[in-house]
Structures are given as C-alpha cells and as structure tokens.
Symmetry: C4
Subunit: 275 residues, 4 copies
C-alpha cells in the first residue's frame, strides 16, 4: 500500500517490539546479574515469554497480510489480470510476502519454545532470514523511484540489513546483551523511520510537499536518520535506568539478603571483565 497507513502499520509493529525489547533485555540482564529471580522468574517463565512473543509476532504478521490483501484498493488474492495481461497489485503482494516471512518466524518461535523438536537457536536464524527477505524485496522494489523516495528507503535498508546481520550473529552468540541491545535499537530505528517515511512521502493534508529533487533535503534526511538513532539510544538508556531503579527498590524491601548479594555481584563484574 503506497500510502501513509502502509508505512504506519509496519512502523507501529516494529516500534511496539522495539520498545518492549528495550524493557525486557535490561530487565533480564540486571535480574541475572543481581541474582534476583522475583521479577523475571525462572528459566521456564522466560521460555513462556518467548513463546508469547512468537504468538504476537505471528498475529501481527497475519494482520499485515490481511490488510495488504483486503484494503479497498488491494488485490483481494488476485495475482494476474487476464484481461490486461499483466500482474496485478504486485506492490501489495510483495508487502504480503514480507509479512509472510515474519509469520513463519513467529511460528518457528512458537514451535521452538513449546516443544523440543527444534533447537532454540532456530528462532534467531529464521528471524534473521525474515529480516533479510524484507530487505531483499525492498531493495528490488525501490528501483526507478524519485531520488528522495529512493533515498529514504535506502536509509531504511541500512537498519534492515544491520538487524539481519546482528540477528544472524545472535544465532551463534546467544544471550549476549550487547547484541540484543543492538537489535533492539535497530528495531526502534526501523519503526520510527517507517513513520518518518510516511510523513515525508505522504505529508498530512495542509503541510507542504517535500521537493523530491532537492539535494539539501537528502542531506537533511540522512542526518535526521542519525537523530532517530540517537533518540532510540536515549530511550533505551532511560528504560535501562528505570529498570535498574525498580530492581534496586525491590531489593531494598528484602534487605537481609542484600549484603551477601552485593558482594557476589562485584565478583561477577570482575569475572566478566576478565573475559
């Protein structure tokens, strides 16, 4: 859907996931570090969480696929127009394919975290493939666009392929907080940039159109992209401090264990440093 909503929908999905991850991963890291199991319970509880995430991912993908097919000007499952002898609504079909792979990723998450047929690492591998396919299709379907349109989508590709590489690395280095945070930041960036693209290409009624051929606009948007990223880092910083503050105040309410734990934490830190 080449319109504002077609960019706002995936943008919102990515933002939701990104913001949730920016709370989840610091929480997991700090709980593990402080040996606090009251908030993010046992390993089993965490596996349930991943399972639920998979369901949400699959649901979002399904919503996206249905939206792309059955919007008023959508293809309604028709792929080939036999009268005009040409393909019909290829744009929507391509977007649907992108959602399809996120759907597959959601299903693999569900299977990998509820049965033991698939290895756990498979969830990251398939997510990495889904992100790669998104980038791959996007790369080919922004051919022959106007300069500014092309540019904002190319910037998006940086976030997409960056995320694909990051998630691929996670297949091998699972549970490393720096990679998880990198993925989170790129996911927030992708989400907020989808919204930005929507505003640039389909400005809300009343505001002026962007000049597609002005080189200055390109330079401004490149910089703007970096500011989005700085903003994503800021949000993650805030969430991390918040989570840290919550865990600390929770631990103060159980002060008998605290002194012993703090010592262990320090030793932990040292040993991590060593590595």
């Amino acid at each position: 859907m080449g319109n504002f909503k077609g960019h706002a929908l995936p943008g919102s999905f990515f933002l939701l996931f990104g913001l949730w991850w920016s709370v989840k991963y610091p929480l997991k890291y700090l709980c593990r570090k402080k040996k606090n199991t009251s908030l993010l319970g046992s390993k089993a509880g965490f596996q349930r969480l991943e399972f639920t995430e998979g369901i949400f991912k699959a649901a979002f993908a399904l919503i996206g696929m249905i939206a792309e097919q059955f919007v008023p000007d959508g293809p309604h499952l028709k792929l080939y127009n036999y009268e005009k002898k040409q393909w019909d609504h290829l744009m929507n079909w391509q977007h649907m394919t992108m959602y399809l792979f996120y759907g597959i990723s959601g299903l693999v998450d569900i299977v990998a975290h509820s049965t033991n047929v698939l290895p756990v690492a498979m969830d990251r591998m398939v997510l990495s493939l889904a992100v790669f396919v998104e980038g791959f299709l996007l790369h080919y379907h922004i051919h022959e666009r106007a300069m500014l349109d092309l540019h904002v989508h190319q910037l998006l590709l940086v976030a997409i392929f960056g995320a694909a590489i990051c998630i691929f690395l996670e297949t091998f280095f699972r549970g490393i907080i720096v990679l998880e945070m990198l993925r989170t930041s790129l996911c927030i960036l992708q989400g907020s940039w989808f919204w930005q693209i929507g505003f640039v290409l389909y400005p809300p009624s009343g505001s002026p159109e962007w000049n597609q051929m002005d080189h200055n606009n390109m330079m401004f948007l490149t910089m703007c992209y970096c500011w989005h990223y700085a903003f994503a880092i800021l949000i993650m910083g805030l969430h991390t401090s918040l989570v840290n503050w919550v865990i600390r105040s929770k631990m103060k309410q159980a002060p008998t264990m605290e002194i012993g734990l703090l010592k262990m934490t320090e030793r932990d830190q040292e040993s991590e440093d060593e590595i």
Copy 2:
C-alpha cells in the same frame, strides 16, 4: 548448454541433495538429542554415510561434465577454433569447470572420510570453494544478457553466495544444526530456482514467451523467488515433523528405556539453553 535441459540437470542434482539433507540433518539432530542410536547408528556409520555422499557428488559432477562436453552441440573437448581464430563453446567449458570443482569436492569428501590424511573440516572448506567458484563463473558469464535473463541469474547468485558463506562458516562451527538447515534450505532453493529459470527462459512449447523488458515480470520473479524459499522451508518443516514422528513411534516400541531417557532429554534442553 543454454537450453531447458542445461538448467534442469543441475537443478535436479541440487534438489536431490537438498531433499536428502532435509531428512538427514533432522534425523541426526533428533537421534542425538533422544540418545537413540538405532536409526543412525554409530559415528562410524555416519562417516560411511558422508563417504557415500562424496561418491554421489563426484558421480553427479562427472555426469554433468560429460553432458556439457558431448551433447550434440557441445565442444567435444575442442577449446579453440583455429579456422575462425576464436574460442569454441566457451559456455559449455565454463559449465564444465563448475562441475569440475564439485567433482574435486566429492573426491575430497571421499578421501577425508575414508583415510585420516585430511582433516574432516576440509570437506566443508572445499565444498564452500566449489559453490563460490560456481557463483564466481556465473557472475562473469551473465554479462551483457537481456534484463530478465540477467535478473533471474542474479537472484540465483544470492542463493549461491549465501550457501558459500554458510558452508564456510560450517568449517569452523561444524555440526551446528541451524547452519546445516540453512545450507539445506539454500540448496533446495537453488535447485528449484534452476528449474524456474528453465521454465522462464525456455518456456515449454505452446506457452507464451516472457517479455524480457517488462519491469513487472522482474518484480514478480523476485517475489516468486521468496515463495520458492518459503516452500523450501515448508518442506523442511514437514520432513522434520515426519522424522520426529518416526523416531517417537520407534521409541514407544522400546518403552522400558523411555522414562529415563525423557528426563535426560529435558536436562539436555536446559544445558543447551544455557549456552
């Protein structure tokens, strides 16, 4: 051989190997996980399997080389035409070179898994080289083709170079199921895409030609490529469930050991999670 058969032959080889791997690797993974040695016996038995695979690979490569040389319009080992003062049938010679490297890879498999002169990791390294050489030659010999012809071969290159990188990683991270499955999926993709290329460039008599210059055809084929991949994932999912079902029913017939094994399996799962 720039014709339908010239694409169907390698396509069939890749499909055969891909489908076989999509059974072999889940079987190996699940047997190891469930400590079941009845199906995929001992380590020695597995090494024999790799040895047999090497023989098949070398045989397929030999068939391919002979076919490229001795088809009616082939070079029949003649490389230079001294009358016309130009190279003769370079296309066939290039294809033969691709098969040649797969042949070398087969020979290395045979030596590495039957003697102990070569390290085992060498089989993956040489296979990676063979896949890379295939992509390398293909990259240079699709120069100056029509747009659609170029495009479908470029899509093929994505699968080829993806597989080369994946197999190169396997040299270092041997026996990791997610990489083996990735390789399998890319191998199936390559095989089915070779068939697709055959149908697009040399449509069976009766059906209409594809318009080489229509941008919509390009966009459709890009998407079609992703569907091929989704299909490859679907097949692998089916095979994995099938293998899982077979192993389970086999284990039910030997129920005395089951209870103890299930506990071990759970502990296994945990420890893998930890990593």
Copy 3:
C-alpha cells in the same frame, strides 16, 4: 566547517587518542605478560583509566559540537531558514551529529566503567556505532564533489569503516592485543589523514593549489595514504620498544624477583603459542 581548521580539529582529537593508545596497550600487554603490576596497577586502576578516557572523549565531542555551531559562519543552532525556505548550514549540523555520537560513546564509557548497570562490552559497541555513524554521514555528504576532494575523503572512509569493523569485533574478542593495536593504527591514520586533507584542500597561503582533476595527484595521494599508515606502524613500533625498555629497566631495579618471573614468562609464551 569546510576549511582547514574544520579538518585539523578532529584530526588532532584522533591523533591524541591514537598516540595515547599506542602507549597504553603495549604497556598493558607487557605488564600483564611480565606479571609487573607496579606501572599499570590493579584492575581497578585500569578501570579508572577507561573512565578518564570516557571523560576526555565526551569533552572533545562537546568542544567539537560547540565549535561547529558557534564559529563565526556557523548555524548558531538555526536549522531552517524560513526566509529562503531552505535548510541552513547543513554541513555544520552533520559534523555536529558526528561529534554527538562520539559524545554518546564517551557517556556510555563513563557509565559502564563507574557503575555496574551496563555490561563493560557496551563501551566498544557504542564506540563502533559512533565510528560507523561518522563514516555513514561522511559517505553521503561527499556526493557531488570534485574528483580529488571525493577521493581523499573516500580514502578516509577506508580507515573509518575498518576501525568500525575492528571495534565491533572487539565487542566479542575483548582485550586481544592485536585488535587493540589495529584500532590504534587506524585511529592514528585517521588523525594524520585529516591533517593531510586539510593541507590538500586548503593549502596554506603561498603554496600552489592542487589540481583537482589530475589523475596523477589521485594516484600519489593513494600511495601517500599508505605511507601515512606505514608511519603509524613505525610510531607504534617505537612506542612498543620504548615501553618494553622502560619496563625492563624498572624490573632490573627489583632483581630478586626477576629470575622466577622470566621463567614464568617463557612458559606463558609457550601456552599462548599453543592457543
């Protein structure tokens, strides 16, 4: 600031850091190897050092940001010129964004090495991002320049992206001396090349202008870039020998422990070799 000072300022920052690192890392390596703790004290002392580095990094970034904004011909925080209906001083704003990310990297260093909220590896990850963002912005803002101008900046990009990859690897392989030295060399190279760019594009008054279109100039500067790198390696070699000599003479003053230590060193060497 498209002038000499605008290149000399970041060049000096990079040179300062590079030269400091070319002393710090050999010192750290040789002290650890010779079990000498008198010079680079305990682990806690080393953490204080990283903390101080973070403060300097943040301070340099702040200086850079202020300079870009408030030089006489700077934007003075004005981003959009409503009269001319165009963006104002985008160049300066882009440079400021580059400094901004180094500032974020400095802040993360400070937090990671003074509290235990962030994992230590986060400092390298964010530094890698900062370097990447520098390269990313530079890549887009050297569009449509004269040939020589473009070329010297492209050479700079090699050092920048090389450093970004190197630092990204350090996130996983922390404290490996060869990566630290590689980063150091690329940092010195970047610093000295910034100065070189300044001299090439804004030659000091009196000396002749460089012909922007002469292919020979391009070839000379490419080679010159390699010489800068050879020079960086030379400096690092000198600093390493100097540090080695200082540590040796310090150890001679405490000779009672020396004999035992030397034996341990040799064994150390062997075991490292093994790896």
Copy 4:
C-alpha cells in the same frame, strides 16, 4: 614496471612461498597427528622456521623494492619532476610501497618469533595488512585501463582480498589447518596468475597479441583463472600425499612404537570429529 619482468618477479615470490607452504603445513599437521617429532622437531624448531621465513620475506621485499627503484627506466628515488611539474614514475613508487608492507610484515615476523615483546598473532595481522595494502593499491591503480588488462587484474584482486580475509581470520583461529591450506592455495594462485598476466599483456616475441576488446577472451581468462586454482589444489593434494608417504615410511623404520601410536591416532581422529 609495466612489463613482463615486473609481473614475473612478484609471481615467483608468491609461487616460492606457496609451494613451500604446501609442503610445510601438511607436514606440520601430519607430524602432530601421528605424534611424530623426528621430522619437524620441537616447538622451538618450528619457531626457528617461522623466524627464517620472516627473513626470506623481508629479503624478497627488499629485492623487489630495489628492483622497482633502480631498473634502467625506474625513478632512482626521484618522486617529483620539478621541470615538468608532475609526479615521476608513480607506478614504480606504488609497486615499491606494496613491497614495503611485505617488508614490514617480514620484520614483524622476525621480532615476534625471536623476542617476546610482540604477541605471536601479530605476524598474521601484519601479513593480512600487507596483503590488503597490495590489493588496495592495485584496486586504485588499474583505473582507466583497457578492458582485458582491467579484467585480469580484477581477477587477481579476488585472490588478494580472499587471502587478506583468510589471514585476518588466522589471527583469531591460529594453527587451523584448513585456513592455512586455503591461504597456501590462494598464494599459489596469485603467483601463477601473475605469470599468466605477464604472458597475456606482454606476449613473448613471436606470439600474437591478445585482443583487448574481445569479450570471448575475457570469458576464457575467467575460466582459465579457475583452472589455475584447480591446478593449485592438485599440487597441494600431491604434496600432501607425498608428505604422508614419507612420514609413513619413516615410521615403519621405527616399528616398535607404531602399534601404540596408531591407536592414539584413531582416538585423536574421533575426538577431532566430536568437535
């Protein structure tokens, strides 16, 4: 030196090193595997070998540098022609710079394997840099050449950058035989391809010139490049079998230890397989 000798000289250096490595690494691998220390003695002996290699590398680099400077039509250390106001013999200076970095690599080898100031891994890192610099300079100085000339040098770049990546990986995964063999094969390929370039661009008197614009010549040379590589693999295979045969016959002469050793070998194989 844009002539036949200018390509034959580095080609010979690379071939010499490649052929020597194709004996050394199988020997090292098989000796270690069969616990045979009679041929490639102790670790100290091996370190002496690396030291000697460094001396040869530095010597070859020096020869190359002197040759580039003082051939009859060389620059004789003159860089700038003040009369014509242009750079003088930049080609030779660039080639000299390539040799310079190999010289640095040789020096680092010597220092790293004779003292313990530098970590051993540094030899690979600097060699990787030297190979990268060779490719980097070559990449920029083949601009604006005729099609075939450009093409044969681009093929060379594949071997060069492949080797640079391979050696960079060796910095982290030291002593892994598959990487060492890959490096060896790329080194032989580079050497023999340098000779091939010499014959293509400067055909010996009497034989016809190659048509620089014939697309068929390009396709043939691409394939020819792969044959060179297949040939390199063949040579390495032969050398490995030869080395294996020599070690076996040596061990037969000391039969009392053999039975026990063979058992150990088998267990070795198994444990390697496991990894």
